[in-house]
């Protein structure tokens, strides 16, 4: 690797480029899955690749590749250099960060690389068997597990020379229940970067997953309408990721004058008690990292403070263009992609209410629990729950299914009525943007309550 770095830096000097990056990446992946009682997948893979990105006067040239050698690096450099010079237009400037040499190794309590395949398989099989034997109504299951160890080398022409290593685990327990023609499903997803122990001891989760799949068989579809809703931590985390997180990504805003006016720092978006944060420095979460994929040191950013827009997420380019500081949020899912502005660990700060406080004075509403996912178009967004409960006169009532909620950024955040005191992070999710998915992120929130939320339904 040292020799390849030398070649890159020599070429950069010879061509006198303004700014350039070289990234090399090695990874090793183990995947195991069960589908029903069958073992569906047991495989290992290795990958090595890299990219070169060069800033021309007016734009970027980018080349990604698998072939890493002296000779090939010269060719790829030349390709990226030529591409960067084909772009004409307005001058493009970026923020600079100082030189840094560092090596970051995320420690794992229990390193999954030392655990035999057989042992990993056996543990997953235990969860699978718990779900399969829960009830005759459990028709099938899926248990999926992937561990990935990645080593990333990054150097740039400003003297950044950083190696980052980490292990990432993602998994899901999935149960399908069937009665007549009706098939219902439930899942529990998880992930983490601090070792194999995070997937140990999930026997209760497996039991709960199977139980919920069966219970949903007898739950009616929610009736569409406008409701006061209480979201659990998982769904509220997805909610804030979709409702506001994406709009905080400066690449949506920096070239759009009208959106800049709407997203001006100091503008009110929510009630005084709403605080929203993105923090890659939060220890031990899947969205945590020390340097982003432009070699910028990461930091905590308040997106909303006391209801007021107070910051946004940047790359070197968007920060420069908007005259704001870099935040270290330029990320790429792997070496095949250019870094773009992404979230890390995004969460709502805890408030003062208990769950009981939040539901106690609701005459008729919905408690929405768990998350299938969400999507945003900036102004409008959706987020879907795994299960819902009718709230009637302050108490939880019947289970309902297919609860999908929608909101509008200019009204829904203002309609947040209360924030709980029970912050939790979920780490099973991946974020998609610009064709790059899934990026490991985490979302967090306490229980929250929102009025006038549109819920779809027949």
């Amino acid at each position: 690797m040292e020799e390849i770095k030398e070649v890159f830096l020599r070429l950069a000097r010879e061509k006198g480029i303004r700014y350039g990056e070289l990234r090399l990446e090695e990874s090793e992946v183990t995947s195991i899955s069960f589908r029903g009682k069958e073992l569906e997948e047991l495989s290992v893979s290795k990958s090595r690749g890299g990219n070169i990105r060069i800033l021309g006067r007016y734009g970027w040239g980018f080349v990604s590749f698998n072939d890493i050698s002296y000779k090939s690096i010269e060719d790829y450099f030349d390709q990226a250099y030529r591409a960067s010079n084909l772009i004409l237009g307005k001058d493009l400037e970026i923020e600079h960060s100082g030189p840094v040499v560092d090596r970051v190794i995320v420690p794992m309590k229990k390193d999954f690389r030392g655990i035999p395949l057989e042992e990993k398989k056996k543990l997953l099989e235990e969860y699978n068997n718990i779900m399969l034997s829960f009830s005759p109504k459990i028709q099938s299951t899926q248990v999926r597990y992937t561990d990935r160890f990645t080593k990333r080398y990054f150097i740039n022409t400003e003297g950044v020379d950083v190696i980052q290593e980490r292990g990432d685990i993602a998994g899901v327990l999935f149960a399908l229940a069937k009665e007549g023609d009706l098939v219902e499903q439930y899942h529990y997803s998880l992930g983490g970067i601090d070792g194999f122990q995070i997937i140990e001891g999930l026997h209760d989760k497996a039991l709960h997953t199977a139980e919920m799949a069966v219970r949903l068989l007898s739950a009616p579809v929610v009736k569409g309408g406008e409701y006061t809703v209480v979201l659990d931590q998982r769904l509220a985390g997805v909610f804030i990721h979709e409702a506001f997180g994406h709009l905080s990504e400066a690449d949506h805003v920096y070239e759009n004058e009208k959106l800049k006016e709407l997203m001006v720092i100091g503008k009110r978006f929510g009630p005084d008690f709403l605080n929203v944060i993105d923090d890659p420095t939060y220890p031990g979460l899947r969205g945590s990292y020390k340097y982003d994929d432009e070699g910028v040191l990461s930091r905590k950013t308040y997106l909303i403070k006391n209801g007021i827009l107070s910051g946004r997420l940047h790359s070197r380019e968007t920060a420069r263009k908007m005259g704001e500081s870099v935040t270290g949020n330029a990320r790429a899912i792997n070496y095949r992609f250019q870094p773009i502005v992404r979230m890390s660990n995004t969460y709502i700060e805890p408030g003062i209410y208990s769950f009981e406080d939040l539901i106690s004075d609701i005459k008729y509403g919905i408690y929405a629990v768990g998350a299938y996912g969400g999507q945003t178009s900036m102004e409008m967004f959706t987020f879907s729950a795994q299960e819902g409960y009718i709230i009637e006169n302050g108490s939880l009532g019947d289970l309902v299914r297919d609860v999908v909620l929608t909101g509008n950024v200019f009204t829904t955040l203002q309609n947040i009525e209360g924030i709980g005191n029970d912050l939790e992070f979920s780490q099973g999710g991946g974020c998609g943007k610009g064709g790059q998915s899934p990026l490991p992120v985490s979302t967090g929130s306490p229980h929250i309550r929102i009025r006038n939320v549109v819920v779809g339904g027949r």
Binding site: G59, E184, E379, T382
Partner: protein, 431 residues
């Protein structure tokens, strides 16, 4: 690859080598101007072995270490199977046009500039993003029983995104097309759709009632198809959770509805005569005038179900084969889309949605935000419908179709579909 094949044969291990290579160029315009030019080269190899009726699998991107692959494939051989690798099939398929190969980065750049100029000359207030991609790919499948299949493909794609903001009202319109022959890239067709949507979105409106006829544009049809695509997969059949399992040979859908998967369609991007396991592909009639037809399988899934493989084992990247579809074709109807719209006092035409696929797909239930939808009254467009949810059940909807349009369009080069009109679905809007 021959070396690895020889190692397998020497050790009398039944095995299959899958080699994949890609080469792409992407020209990206952001906020009306050229922003970056990307190129990518990739290559990798996957090895599948069958030892004592157990499958093992290992793969590598960016390196090729035959001994590592063989060791790891053997070490992972745990998956019980009844499959046998297919016997000798020797095929070469070169599905990439000369004309496409010759297109330069400069020409792609000019194409993008031209599109943006056309947009801005009519709508100077909008922001336009354009991505143009040229993709080339090769796949080679070799096995110890004599399969030697090679496929080469190339395509050209353009995606156009237009954003307009008025006050706090945001409008985003997306159109894309992917073709094999550059001469078939019709950007004017995409632009005319975008311009029509821009004009129609000047006014925001709401349906007068919650139960209303809905027309899905070709772009929106996936929300109705996803449950079927899933339910007809051999994997879902194997799990015993396919709602269509006991409907085979029975009329379950509207008799106006026919759906086939056609690997031979000359216009479909997924045209191929063999799948990623070296099995000859077959045209599958998934639904025939409402009657449920065939499921689709890879070799392993078919073997577990004691079914014949039907040439539908495909891979994403270097992952193991799984049941996959090629070119989905829905039959057209008799009426023009204009006539269908005009036949209602009030009808919602849905074009873009958010939240598709997030939920229990198998059950057919959908509940999506109408990201881009238009209300028509007596054939005249009234305005855009937003802040609203559309909900229904895809199986019910396709069992009661009001009409399919005469016009059909290709979506992402792999779905050829008419507009589909459902007589009644539920729309909930903000008060």
């Amino acid at each position: 690859m021959e070396e690895l094949l020889k190692k397998l044969k020497d050790k009398s291990i039944e095995g299959e080598i899958f080699f994949r290579k890609g080469d792409s160029t992407l020209v990206i315009f952001e906020a009306n101007k050229l922003k970056s030019i990307e190129s990518s080269e990739s290559s990798g190899v996957g090895l599948r072995v069958i030892i004592d009726n157990k499958i093992g699998y290992a793969s590598q991107y960016g390196m090729y270490e035959p001994d590592w692959l063989l060791d790891k494939a053997k070490a992972t051989a745990n998956i019980e199977t009844k499959m046998k690798l297919p016997l000798a099939l020797d095929m070469k398929e070169e599905d990439s046009s000369e004309e496409l190969n010759k297109i330069s980065i400069e020409e792609l750049t000019e194409l993008g500039k031209g599109v943006i100029e056309k947009v801005l000359s009519s709508y100077p207030e909008v922001i336009c993003n354009v991505e143009i991609g040229k993709n080339k790919g090769e796949a080679l499948i070799l096995n110890t029983r004599g399969v030697n299949c090679f496929r080469k493909k190339a395509s050209l794609s353009i995606g156009i995104h237009v954003n307009r903001i008025k006050g706090t009202d945001m409008l985003d319109i997306y159109e894309e097309t992917t073709v094999r022959e550059p001469s078939r890239l019709d950007t004017d067709r995409l632009l005319s759709k975008i311009f029509q949507a821009l004009d129609a979105s000047e006014n925001i409106t709401k349906p007068s009632r919650t139960q209303i006829p809905v027309i899905f544009t070709p772009k929106a049809v996936y929300v109705l198809l996803l449950p079927l695509m899933s339910a007809l997969s051999g994997k879902i059949l194997l799990m015993g959770v396919s709602p269509l399992e006991d409907k085979v040979g029975k009329k379950f859908f509207d008799d106006k509805f026919t759906l086939i998967d056609d690997p031979t369609n000359p216009d479909g991007l997924s045209r191929t005569s063999f799948d990623d396991e070296g099995v000859p592909t077959k045209v599958l009639t998934l639904v025939d005038s409402g009657v449920v037809g065939e499921f689709y399988f890879d070799l392993h899934t078919a073997s577990l179900l004691n079914k014949e493989a039907n040439g539908h084992g495909f891979r994403g990247g270097l992952s193991q084969p799984s049941p996959g579809l090629t070119n989905l074709i829905i039959n057209s109807g008799d009426a023009s889309i204009k006539d269908i719209i005009s036949s209602f006092d009030e009808v919602l035409v849905v074009d873009q949605m958010m939240g598709v696929g997030q939920g229990n797909i198998l059950s057919g239930e959908f509940s999506v935000n109408i990201h881009l939808g238009f209300l028509y009254r007596k054939g005249e467009i009234v305005g855009r419908v937003k802040d609203s949810m559309l909900a229904g059940n895809a199986y019910n909807a396709l069992s009661n179709i009001y009409a399919l349009s005469r016009e059909r369009e290709w979506i992402e080069g792999t779905l050829y579909t008419p507009y589909i009109c459902i007589p009644e679905l539920t729309v909930v809007s903000k008060e």
